[in-house]
Structures are given as C-alpha cells and as structure tokens.
Amino acid sequence: MPAVSKGDGMRGLAVFISDIRNCKSKEAEIKRINKELANIRSKFKGDKALDGYSKKKYVCKLLFIFLLGHDIDFGHMEAVNLLSSNKYTEKQIGYLFISVLVNSNSELIRLINNAIKNDLSSRNPTFMCLALHCIANVGSREMAEAFAGEIPRILVAGDTMDSVKQSAALCLLRLYKASPDLVLMGEWTSRVVHLLNDQHMGVVTAAISLITCLSSKNPDEFKTCVSLAVSRLSRIVSSASTDLQDYTYYFVPAPWLSCKLLRLLQCYPPPEDGAVKGRLVECLETILNKAQEPPKSKKVQHSNAKNAILFEAISLIIHYDSEPNLLVRACNQLGQFLQHRETNLRYLALESMCTLASSEFSHEAVKTHIETVINALKTERDVSVRQRAADLLYAMCDRSNAKQIVAEMLSYLETADYSIREEMVLKVAILAEKYAVDYSWYVDTILNLIRIAGDYVSEEVWYRVIQIVINRDDVQGYAAKTVFEALQAPACHENMVKVGGYILGEFGNLIAGDPRSSPLVQFNLLHSKFHLCSVPTRALLLSAYIKFINLFPETKATIQEVLRSDSQIRNSDVELQQRAVEYLKLSSIASTDVLATVLEEMPPFPERESSILAKLKKKKGPGAVSVELEDGKERGELNGGGDRGGDAAIAASNASTPSPSADLLGLRSAAPVSGAAPSAGSLLVDVFSEAGPAAASAGVNDDGFLRFVCKNNGVLFENQLLQIGIKSEYRQNLGRMYLFYGNKTSVQFVSFSTTVSCPGELQSQLNVQTKTVEPLVEGGAQVQQVINIECLTDFVDAPLLNIKFRYGGALQNISLKLPVTINKFFQPTEMAAADFFQRWKQLSQPQQEAQKIFKASHGMDTEVLKAKLLGLGTALLENVDPNPENYVCAGVIQTKAQQVGCLLRLEPNAQAQVRTRARAHTQMYMHTHTQMYMHIHTQSPSVLLCAALIASLTAVCVFLCAAANQAWRAGNTQLALFSLALFLSHSPPLSFTPFFHFLIHFSPHIDSTLSH
C-alpha cells in the first residue's frame, strides 16, 4: 500500500478540510470559506510568483470549495498554468480543475486546447492519458473541433500504448455523441472494427463501446463487426474461468466484455451467415445452460456478473424474436427468477418478461406465470418491484385473462402507492375497454375505479366511459342503473357525480319506471351532491337538469324552482349564472317539441383513438410501445365500427394495371393537398388550384387521393410490402368500389384486417358497407374487397381506410383516404346553349357561384383538359359557349336527399390563367347548398354574412350554426352572434342538435346577445 496516499504533501488542504468539517453551522462554514477565498485571491494577486506546488494546493482548495456547492469565479488561469507544468501531480490537479469547472471562456479554451495538444504530442503515455481524460470529461464542441481529427489517428496508430488506445476510444465516443458532425468516418473506421480482435482485453472492452455506438448509427458501414463479435463472444463463453486471468471477475470470465458484445449484436438482425448464426445460437444456449449450473461462489458479485450476461443474452433473444425455442427457454429462466430470493432478480425478471410478453412466440409462455405475478403485486415489500409486476400484468393481459387481471389491479389500487396510482388507473381503464366483451362489466369496472381512486381518475377516463355509454345503446340502461346506485353512497367522489349527472341526464328515463328511481328521486339524489361540487361539475349538473325537464315533464316545476333560486340565477360565477338564466328561459319559452329537439339525446361520438391510451403513451414515453403493438392485435371490439361481417372475398388477381396517372389538368404543383378535405363545393376549386389547404390530418396518407378525383381506377397506394389497387363504378347516388390488396413480399401477412370508417359528420352523409377480408394474405397473393357506397346527402370528408397486418412479427398500420368525392355522384346532363345560359343566369346570386382564377403551370392541352372534365363526371357541352376557347359542362349531383344541378365553365386565357366558375342549383328546396358550404369554409366575414343570410332565408339552420361556429373561430364575434340571432328567429326547421352543441361550446360568450 503506497504510504503516500494519505499525505501527499498538501497539508494545508487537509487542515482546511478539517476546519470546514469542524464548523458548527452553515454560517461558520461560509465564513471560513470566505476567509480562505480571500487568502487564495491575495496569493494569486500577490507580487511574488507562486511556485507550482502552491498553485496546485490553492487550485485544489478552490476545487474543494466548488464541490461543496459554492461558486468559484477565479483561479481558472492558475489551473491552466498548471497544465503546462512538467510535474505530473500539478498537471493532474490542473486537468481535474478544468474538467470539473468547465468554462466556455474562449480565451481560456484556446489555452487549454494548446496545453492538451502539447500533451497529446508528448509521446508520454501518462500525459497523453491525462489529456484524453480531460477531453472526454469536458467534451465540448470547441474540443471536438480541435481534436476530432487527431484522436482517431492516435487510436489506430500501431505504436500507441494500450492504455492510451483505451482512453482514445472512449474519448472519441464522447466527442461523437456530443458533436457527431465533427467526427468524420474515414479509413480508420474499418481499423476500429478490428480492435475487436485485439489481444488486450482492456482495449477490446473500451473499443466496443465506441463500435456499438457507431454501429447503431451507421449499421451498414460496421456490419463486419457481427462475425468478429460472435467469435470473440464464443471464445469468452467457452473459456474456463481461469483462462482470462484478471479479466475474470468472481469466477465469471469477462462479464463486461460479454455484455457489451451481446449489446453490439442487438444493433443488427440475426446473422445471415449460417455458420455465424449457429455459433451464436450455441453461445446463447451455453449462457442459458450455465444459469442452471451450481454457482462457483456464494458471493453476490459472482451471481450478479453471471446473471448480467444472462439478462443481456435474453435481451438479444427477444431482439431477434425469431427463435421460438430460445424464447421459451428465456421465459422459463425468467420464471425461475420470479421466485428467487434476491429482490433484484425478481425485479429484473418482471421487467424482462414485459418485453417477452409482446412476442407472439412467448406470449403464451409468459401468461403461465400469471399467479406468481399477481402474488408479487400483493406481497412484494418494495414498491418498485410491485410496479414492475403491475406493468407485466398489463403487458400479459389478453382476452382470456382480462377479467382476472383487471380485478387484481383494482384490488391493488386500494392500497397502491400514491406515486403510481394515476398510471394504474389509466391502465385499468385501458384494459377494461380493450377487452370488454360485455359492457356491463366495463361500466362496473370504471365506476369501481372512480369509487376506489377517484382522485386519480383523470378527465380522459370519465370522458371515455361517457363516450362509450353514448355510443352503445345496449349498455345505457345498465349504466344508468349502476350509476344511480353508486350515487347513493353517502360520500361519493366528484368524478362519480360528473358521470352520474351526464348519464342520468341522457338516459335517466331508462330506469324511471322503477319507483325507487323515479324522476324526482333521481333529481333529488343528484341535487343533494350539487353543493359539494366544484363549478365545472355544477355547470354539468345544470345541463343535466334541463335535460331532465325534457325527459320528465313532471319534474319541470321542481327544477325551474331550483334554477330560479338566487343561488343559481344570481350566482357570482358567470358560467353558472348564465346557464341558470338560459335554461330557465328555454324551459319556460320553448314548446315541448322545440325542447325535445334542442335537448335531444347526444349523437354518437366519432370513433377515434382512445384518449386514455394517448395519455398513457405520453406519460410513459417509450415504455408504452409494446402495448401499442399489442393493441393492433386485439383492437376492434369497441372501435371497429358496426360495418364488418360476412364472408371474406378472395379474388383472382384481375386488378387493372394502372397507368401512371397525371395530376388533374397537370396544373397542381407538387405539394400534395392533404388534410381538411375539400368541401363539396370547393372541391371543384381545390383540385384546380395550385396548392391545396394546408392542415394535414396526421398519419393519414392521402398522396394518391387527389389523383382519383377525375378517375376511378388505378393504384391507390404502394410501398415495399403492399400495393392497393382500386376499381370503382358509380350510378346515381350509389357506388361500388373494388379494392385489391396485393402482397408484394414472399412472406404471408397475418392478422390482416381492414376497416372503413366515416369520420364525424360523414357517418350521416355516406352509407358505407364493406365485407371483411380473410386475415391471411399469402406472399405474392392478392385479396379483393368490395365496398358499397350510398351517398345520402352532400359531404365534405372522405371515408378512411385503415389496414393493419403483421409482417414478420411487426405490426403494420396504414391509413388512407378512400377516393370518394362528391363529384363521383355527378350525372352528366346534356343541354343546348340557350338552355344552359338561361339556367346560368337564374343562378345569379353571388353565393350560388364559386369562382377561382389560377395559373396553369404546365400549359394547356385541349385533350387533357377535356379528359379531366369528363373524368369529373360532368357532361362536356360542345358549341355552347360563344367563345370557342371556353369549356362548358353540366351535371347533376345525385344524393339520396336531393339533387343538385351544377354548371361549370372553364375559361382559359392567353396568359395561361384559367378561371372556373360553377353555379349550382338544387331542384328540391335547398338553394346553393354546395356553394354555401364553400363559403362557410372561407374566413371572409362578408361571405360568411351572406351565407348566413341566405341560410336563414332557406331555413338551413345547420348552416347557420356552422356559420356562427366558423365566425366565432375566425374571431368575428359580432357575426357569430348575428348568425345565432337569425337562427333563433326562425322556428325549428331541421335539427337543433348542432345549435345545442354550439351553445355548450361557446355559451360563456353569447350571454349578452341572448338577453337582448
């Protein structure tokens, strides 16, 4: 033992440290430190030049003070001076100071870099290592700029000492991580890979960290490392515990290097070379076998090192996910660890199993451990282990065990640590929804969740239960009954009141027949909670009350009494007061019919991704990925929509081979029009325009969409795996579409499923029916699907096609817009010139016309233009327009509800600008239907106003509401209010529901007008 270690001469430092330790209070410590700082400052500033030793001592004191948590604003220069000392210890302290107190003072950085440069070129290995350590510790961009070129050379030079190589490798790694752009790959890269063969184990250990990082970023450049790594690993695994001398750690040969090799292999897919793969599998088997051998030492270090390798090997097996035999063995091994007496191993086994659960080969094997995991959840003393157990239960859950797992998680929630409750609640909510076969179970579970852990039930959870109850009419009665019972508890959580208020307000009538839950009983029960609730909940309850008035006229008097009371109608909260006033007014003025329309049952919510799942993903970050993968497998119960069923149709490959389709008129610029689908009226305009509306609906691939506006057949989508061809025909308001899914690979797709959904309003505008397809698509095969479409009324959005399948274990998910646009239902109409112009003049009001002027970017070819216009579905009328340059078209859009006549003129001019004008006329009662849609979607207040006026005349109240809504969003409050006023001045024509929605959304802002 070097005696020097305890007193290397810096006695002053030792005295100072013990002084500090003897300080009785923080104040005394600060006083002592300030005294010392003053002393050091005076020494540094003093006339007498300090010798290196004193400088070292003072710099070291400053460092100590800094590490105690005090600021240091001087001494950097002295530290830099130490760097150029010839004495090792002085240099060492100088470097330590620089490493700990990095300062981006440019003047200093230059000096530091200079000193480092000198040491690097000194050829003194100890100095070189000090310099490299400093670069690695600081790792700043300036240092990367200065040394990123030099270090690779040191690393691969033949005469570099091993210890310097080790430092150089890790130093380079650090610079690469901090500034990858400055570390240039070059001829040194291939030589770095060969460091895997170095005789010195230390060099390999250090170099492999660098190689792993570089491989993960540039796998192709480094792929030769796979076979080198496998042979190195195989040599270590098969060596006796004494072969590697000091690199054997507690009888385990080179555990660090083994783990790093296994980690490196995880950057790559399984080796293609059969011999290499065989050797690797042999290694993995040996590692698994060794786990069963009796330990060579009782020391925990021995078992830790051995199991570290084992877990890393299991990670690699899971990463490959292709060797069922190894996966099952891994799972069994982890199963043993689940019951191990070492807490650490139980923890890691639970964690590892989570990833195993998402592999289809081992999912079943993982499930066999369910009892052990449940037991862990109940009995583990350590909360972090319990949390891993909960994670694993979540990962292993499927339809077969959902009820059991959800019940266990619920009962655990009662005692769970506060830190993990919210996450647990989300998980229970997700599992309950995902695997709900019977919805009464779902409702029970969520209500239990609110009862047990109401504080941790986020908004998303209770929103979701309401969405589901509203969308599923088979569960509404049960939900009303259960929530009514839950509300009877003397102390019930506010979230329960929210759910109760909403559900009874909508479906209280379903249980009103029972005298124990008669309308008045229901109301009194809800109202008994009112005073304990926060403002938003009270507001919700007020809405429930007005719904009660509609559901149960006999409660009207009681409720009006409540609304009229001072505590409501004069509530200091504006929102509550306003609701009370409005609802009271509404209930006293409106006739029963109006009331029934306004307070109609809420329409079904659009199906979309569960907001809870989104929240969990956000919360968990990368950890939730496995869940998402699984999600694809099991989805469909709640969100699948009702449009599946029937036999799968597998067709011969008779899809039309498409010609590469040109853009409409060749006018559109390259930027794909995406997102907010063009409205019916503006579709005409948008497809002709240069750039479409911007907002993209994320995740939906609609590159191919616009190409199909003017044609019916072609390739809708294509990637490396899948090609989707389309063939469609339309007659009147009906259409039939054939989709051809072609598997371009030689591997079969499993769990292949497609869904067609109509988002939002589209549900009521288009009737879309599909047949399900066979879940298996063989390699090279093609599957056909037929979709029947009925246009009920005009529409804006396009239906969405969602395709899911597994290819080689990975879930593929593709979303596309189906090219169903309003013009598909055009029926061409022939007419003579006189006829055309007479009609054109009839449609003379500004809002009956849509006009767009745009540049033809590719010039104009008559034949192409004609083809496009015909493709649009209209009739191209020859010899109608007096100007022979112009194109004139006519057609009738056929929907079930009405027919809309449409006239179109395309007026090219010499400057290659094109103007389209379309005028439309409905033959039934609604003027300007299409146009109005378009205008509503503009943001111009005057256009909106016109639209609003016209709509009021024609009693198209839906539009009025939309106009108000739009105006509101555009920030035009006055117009919004005006539209509303118009709306209110008309007797209820179509539906009040949109108004009601609007009212709910914007009610805080419209009180002033309503009172006028």
Binding site: K6, Q166, S167, L173, G202, Y249, T343, N344, R346, L348
Partner: protein, 158 residues
C-alpha cells in the same frame, strides 16, 4: 452509458459527483436532491434499482456511503452494480480499508481513480491489476516530486 455517479452519506452529504454528460449547475443540484431523497427514503432490503425520468438508477450502500448512478435505459443494472463494486474495490485497494474520511480528505484521488476506471460514462478498464498499476505508477511520480518539494513550508497555516 452512465450519466452520473454520486457518492453521498446517510445524512445526504455529497462526497463525490461525477457527471458524464453536460448538465447545468442548477439541474445538477436538483438531480442530487432527487437522488438523495429517493435513495435515502428506500426501505432496507429493497431492490437496488429504480426508474427516474428516462434513466435507470442503480444504487448500493457501502458502510455509511451510498453509491448511486444514473444509466441509459438499455444499460444492464446488474453489471452497473458490479461497476460500483469494482470502484469500491479500487478505492479499498488504494486507501487500504477505505472509509468515508479517506474520500473526504483525498477527494482528488477518488476522482483520479475514477478517471482510470470509467471514461465518458463507459468502462475503460476492468482489470484490477492493470488499474492499480496505473494508479500506483502516478503515485510513484508524485512521490518522486514530493521529495524535491520544500515540504517544511507547508507546516502551519498557509
């Protein structure tokens, strides 16, 4: 890779802090606070691993000192435990029956030894023999220097 290594006492006094990635001072203080409260709050015989933000935390107590490190999510926890153990062994070999006081009074040595063992958050060398040799070699250099220095000047108050 390892992001940081902290040594602190049962009272939460920080004895050594090593940051392998650039962290602003303010953030460092927050991390130290979080680690000490989290680790010191653990019951005995709990497992040595924790999740904290995106990092895995591995800690172990040796006598009165806690060794605690933060790792990337893909790192191996068991191996990290042995990294801590090897560091303790190195300190022990150097100081001979190392105790907290050795690390307080010779903090710079603790940093030097760590630099030989870990660099940029990765293991540089695992062999105890090789490591001790290079640490001792630098001490020999030091000893030679001390013989030449005017040691006497150091007696008394600087």
């Amino acid at each position: 890779m390892m992001h940081f290594l902290l040594l602190f006492s049962r009272q939460g006094k920080l004895r050594l802090q090593k940051w392998f990635t650039p962290v602003p001072e303010r953030e460092k203080k927050k991390i130290v606070r979080d680690m000490t409260t989290m680790v010191l709050g653990r019951k005995p015989r709990s497992c040595n691993f924790l999740h904290w933000k995106d990092l895995k935390i591995v800690y172990k107590k040796y006598a009165s000192l806690y060794f605690c490190c933060g790792l990337d999510a893909e790192e191996n926890e068991l191996l990290a435990l042995e990294v801590l153990h090897r560091y303790v062994e190195l300190l022990d070999k150097y100081f001979g029956n190392v105790c907290e006081l050795d690390i307080i009074f010779n903090f710079e040595k603790a940093y030097f030894i760590l630099d030989e063992f870990l660099l940029g958050g990765e293991v540089q060398e695992t062999s105890k023999q090789v490591l001790s040799r290079s640490i001792e070699a630098s001490d020999m250099l030091q000893e030679a220097e001390i013989d030449n220095s005017d040691y006497d000047l150091e007696l008394g108050w600087p």
